[in-house]
Symmetry: D4
Subunit: 252 residues, 8 copies
């Protein structure tokens, strides 16, 4: 066949335009496409809800790509081994209860599952503010292109509506900070010192609705509620994403 | 169970150390983890050869994540549709012979397949020179951490050995340029103007051994041999990666 | 009435996406929205042709805003006074044959006329390459978002088709340089020294088709053909834009 | 005619010098040439008052050029439709009560009207401090070239006098912050969350004199008084500029 | 003999990886390889304890290389002259009680002694957080590569365990600040004005355990406890390093 | 008396604008206000000619302020001692024939003399191009504000006319390079190695008219004609400035 | 004569070394070589005291070079006209009581006078801290090269001793801030709004000893004590420098 | 004893100034304080010649600190093992003929030996040009502070004289490039590809006088003469430094 560049351009614009128009109003917006966000989005979308995953970088995967200190391996404890298996990520037991996996395979498999579940990705997209109206509930996000923000251009954002927002943006807890700054709550306690064991436990406990319409999961949960810090051990991340999904599915 | 941070650290270092020691000497080094590099590495590794994929960025996927102008969709023509199917990437027909897919799903599925085939990933790794000895054959790569290069630190590189190198670094054709600069060949013709139809055809033709021990594929093939430029149409990329793999498997 | 943010977002995306889909294929693409580009685009669009004006900056107007050395005034000689009048720009005679005007009013009035004539603006859009196929004619442009280029992100461009392209990008003559680098012609002579009188005359003479499908106008004309440089005297610019429009209308 | 470069230089310096000397003392200084500032300045100048519009950038138009997320369209609600019409800006109804327009045409037409009304523009001009004397009234502005500020050069500013100042600098509310920091008032409440409907209403209510001699309008009004944030819906902006003008005309 | 690049690469990786695995758990971690850190680490390691010296820069030596204002000389008072002699650093008496030495020789000799004592160096290593568990004792450090931090890459750190940590990071007192921020103590008083005589005395007094498991020495001691500032007089630095070593050896 | 800010502003603008209008056309434009430029301008202005000194930096003095390696002293040989005396600069004999002086006093005294001679200073002014018309003679300069150039703003320059131009811009020989690039001559030989003795002699020899209307002096003379490099010995600079002045006075 | 580069180097180093050794201990250190610092240093040195002028930039003159908004003119009111005359600076009366002068001539003449009075200049020298001992009196300054600070190099400073320090560093009041931060006083009130008339009066009133051993003059006086801001009117500056000198001469 | 800051400052300035005055004229200037430069300087100074080691960075050691890819180990082959022993650097045999050592210990021990041999270090010193007079021999270096160069300040350099210069600046071969650019020779062939075995041999062969008065050693030797590249194997470096020293000692 003969390829026509203009048809290619039109195919790309047309497809994405329809997705953007459709996803201006969605059930759940997950912000941050690291491991907990990917797990959370996948599990909700698998139940048929309309889920968008908003990521400021060009690539998804968050802090997982680099493993620990650029050695691209991650560790998962026994409690979360079943989630590695569920997402078809190969692992091997290093010492009893400690499973290692390739950090790059892990990102790829979690992302592939999200795509299969019907999650729509909005990468290079930056949350610059939140929409909260008279009912005091987080009901939407104010978004812009990340390159616009990076170049300091003065360009107005657009607004999307969502019934539930999940802040999975890690240490920065970006959405929670926007809400806290404008509304005076939730109180941001801040992340504690490194204590992997405690952190892994806490991150699941801290995964909850911290403001009407806003859930936190992954390191954002600890960053908001004062949980300890963990390192390149991703079991708690996966479990936290799962926990957020379960709570939200109960709600919707 | 109780998690011990030190065991986690040791698990990560120990695992990656063994992989690094093992992959100092490999069958095929693919440089650049964009779509053509991923396809090429996967198809060779599936045949049981020892393949390393060297990527300077933290994430793999190259220019595929952003689709066309940040609209995360790609287009594939009918000739390459079977490769989308082979890698389990969902697509829909936009107009006769033009298939669209999610750019993010595409990266994830190609990467997942590479991991399943046994490809080892070395991300954040930068090729700063080449090893060519008295036999005039490219027999190894001089690598360093990309953050070392980005910060201008004066730190020496290490050298790895490989029987075959694939330059899949896109427009820059990094390895071919290193070889050309030091040895006077291959001649770098440079990429032509945009002409998607012609480019898609040419990229497969230009996928070949351009110097003893060095293959080029994907846009690097056109950048070396003067093929035309294409846009966010990735069929030629996938076919080029497949072609490089076939030629190399014939050789080894 | 009650305003709904989501309707606002959808209105903006929907309108612009339809324009983008429509303008993937246009009669004339004018690159660079300085004074000569604005005049050229306006005069062609007034005849009912489909004209797009592509500008890499957020704002149009080019080098006109700052007048001379940040004193926001421009000068126009008597020959071009009728064009100030045509675009409804107020001017006063400083000395015989020298008319001054506000640089800011000039930009605003030229832009307003272009909009009234039906010109479509594509700002923040960067021409990164050209489309030239087997017939050796410039038949399209490879475009991307300027913030993508400014942040060095690896994102693929899209391609648009146009029957005629006008390079009105000033000293840089961006499109002409892309064509010259890939095809070996047109020969770029380079701009001469300051000589306002001669330059004003030359810029109109040099306004012509320099490659099949490519016209140059404004300072780009002098930069390609070796005309002299002028200063904040914009008569030649306006006349050059007019001349390009006349020639193109004759052709189409 | 023969053009003389030196006459051109003298024409530009001489004209602008006389304007600068004249406008060292003006009736109303509007700071910020976005949509609300342009409307406000125009309506006051149309009544014959001496109005200067001070803008730190090279181009006027503020955040309007980029529309929403670089899609150059704006939306205006039915209440403000009459202002689009008044400024001759073409619009179409997207859904009942929502009118869309070209963001670029909008800037051009508002600016053209300001020029026709006799507003003098001082672009590339930065307000670095305020003049407040013993009567506790804002009676002047301390200005400098923006490129001086951007390059960190140590160059002293000049001072201009004005009976009334309008802060139309958007989210930053630059003048109000200078006054607040030096005098302890007005209290800056800070902008609220996105709530377009409420914001559009509030911005007009918050348009008022917040310190003797200082009015705020546009987003600066909400930023000072705690109004909600809006997006690329510019009706409130236009209405706010109109309101400021009405109040000031009553006063002078 | 014939040199094989791959054996060289393997030798380097293998040796350092085994050291890293071994030093994930050490007796004493000294952070900051300036003069006080080098003395402290040497004296402890000479007693047979496992000591790691963690330095964020590529080179060790801290602020000593530059002497005073880039004149590479240091001064040591008579009380510390014996330490210069102990480390084999040549000095000459400038005036009674004031000994000068080469700053570069001083760094080299202190470092050579540390290496001879068995101290292991971890350069280009950055302490980004601390490990404190339920017993409220500083029991480990969260480390990463400095180039990762400098380039802003999102890569997870690793954790090491140590019985005692010494903060010898100078004015910044990096470890003490991490502990103070997360645990509310120790209180950081901050460094006083220049008063060399008093500072030299104080720095030894302030060298102590400021938090369970954390000692401070050198300028970090004054920065935490409010001691005065000194200049390029290094006697107090050396004595402080010695004092920290004595106290820690008593404890272990 | 009571001070009025607006009168102050008007005084400054009015005075300088009149000087600018007057100096758009001058006898001699000296570009670069280092020692040779200052001497040259002074000696010509003392004869009653209209001389402007154009300097891109905020301060005049060029490379003289820093003496040698930031030790603010200069050396002058016996042949040039009379020029130190003429400009009232104190000096002392270090060894026979070598006189030292304060670099800062030297700048101040040369500048004071220039002011007394009636030289007009245009600082922060950048020469971005040259005016050469049909007679092939350098007859003017294209100037802009240096902060405009430093910030990359797109603002047009203005043009000034001068009978003679002196390039005293040091190693860069800015004006000579502009002329050479546009006209193919003068040939720029480039500066030789350090050889103070020879350089001091050569710089006077090389001080001459290198293109119709263009003289070079100071290091620019050596940079154009291949003279050797000198160090912080300023005798040749002063003598070269004197020589240029003599030649130009002969001519005018 | 024949010039020897090495003699030149030795002359410069030797001369400056002796000055540096001598000025490690001086009567009065004036920090900041703007107009008030220059006047103050000159008047004290004329009485035979040992005065050093410490300036962080390469050139002296502070904010005076640029006049107002890059128009290199200053204004002085009638009360300070006698100081212009004393320093031999030409001026002309713009309107009754307002005298204008060249900003560049003003810097040159003030600096020349300082040199003639015997002031020693230390340019490129940065005050990074203060020396205050047990008697609670500012008795010295901790200095470093400015390029060391600008490049972030870790190089120790040196200390100089002075009986009296004058902070003439303008808006930043650098020395006063160091003292205030370390000792809790003087209280820094901060500069008020622009009010030239009041400021000119206040700056002389606020010129005083604000901490044992520390005087403030020029804008630093207003910045410490809450005086109003002035613009490019330098009469108050000169009067303040004179006042500081008078008070210090009374004291010593 | 009581410490006096001023005595400390004077001690440092006085000592270093005398060294600088003495070393303005030396026997051998070694440029670049990496391993080959350190060995070369040490071996010459041990014979009683006056040797200065000029290093642009704050620390000496060059590329040795970082080992290979930030793993701080180096490898030395059997031929150079005796040099490790001579400089008292501990090593262990990894495999037959391959010895590993700590990169940090290596730098420290080489530097300590240089200091003991009487080498004078000039760190933060940058060679910006060369002195070559009528005899066509490299007879001196034009030096400046590195921070002056890094901040782009316009400050003149000083010149030092030396009978022999050694370029040990690694890949950049800084001195050889300055000489080549100004004199047309030596011809710079450029470094070849990685081939450790060949490179180690070649580097010693290429260590020679390449221009009257100029020797190259270490990687600079290969960079000038076209030798191959090596990695973190430092045997050739040490042998090359030794060879340069032997040749120079024969000459002097």
């Amino acid at each position: 066949m003969t390829l026509d560049e203009i048809t290619i351009s039109r195919a790309i614009i047309s497809e994405q335009m329809h997705i953007m128009l459709e996803y201006m109003d969605m059930d759940v917006a997950v912000v941050g496409a690291g491991p907990s966000g990917l797990v959370c989005a996948t599990l909700i979308a698998e139940k048929g809800l309309k889920v968008g995953l908003i990521e400021k970088k060009l690539s998804v995967g968050g802090g997982m790509w680099g493993g620990g200190m650029m050695f691209p391996r991650i560790v998962v404890q026994s409690e979360a081994k079943r989630l590695l298996d569920r997402f078809n990520i190969k692992s091997s037991e290093f010492s009893p209860g400690y499973y290692t996996a390739s950090s790059i395979e892990s990102v790829a498999k979690l992302t592939a599952s999200a795509a299969d579940a019907g999650v729509q990705f909005f990468n290079l997209t930056y949350v610059e503010d939140v929409m909260i109206k008279g009912d005091g509930k987080l009901s939407g996000l104010v978004i812009n292109w990340q390159p616009v923000e990076a170049t300091g251009l003065h360009v107005d954002p657009l607004t999307i509506r969502c019934r539930i927002t999940v802040d999975a943006t890690g240490h920065d807890a970006v959405v929670a900070h926007h809400v806290s700054k404008k509304c005076g709550k939730p109180k941001i306690v801040g992340e504690g010192t490194m204590w992997a064991d405690n952190a892994e436990f806490a991150v699941v406990t801290h995964t909850k609705e911290v403001f009407p319409g806003l859930f936190v999961c992954g390191m954002a949960a600890n960053a908001v509620s004062g949980g300890h810090r963990m390192g390149p051990v991703f079991g708690g991340m996966l479990l936290s994403g799962e926990s957020a999904a379960m709570q939200i599915l109960d709600l919707l």
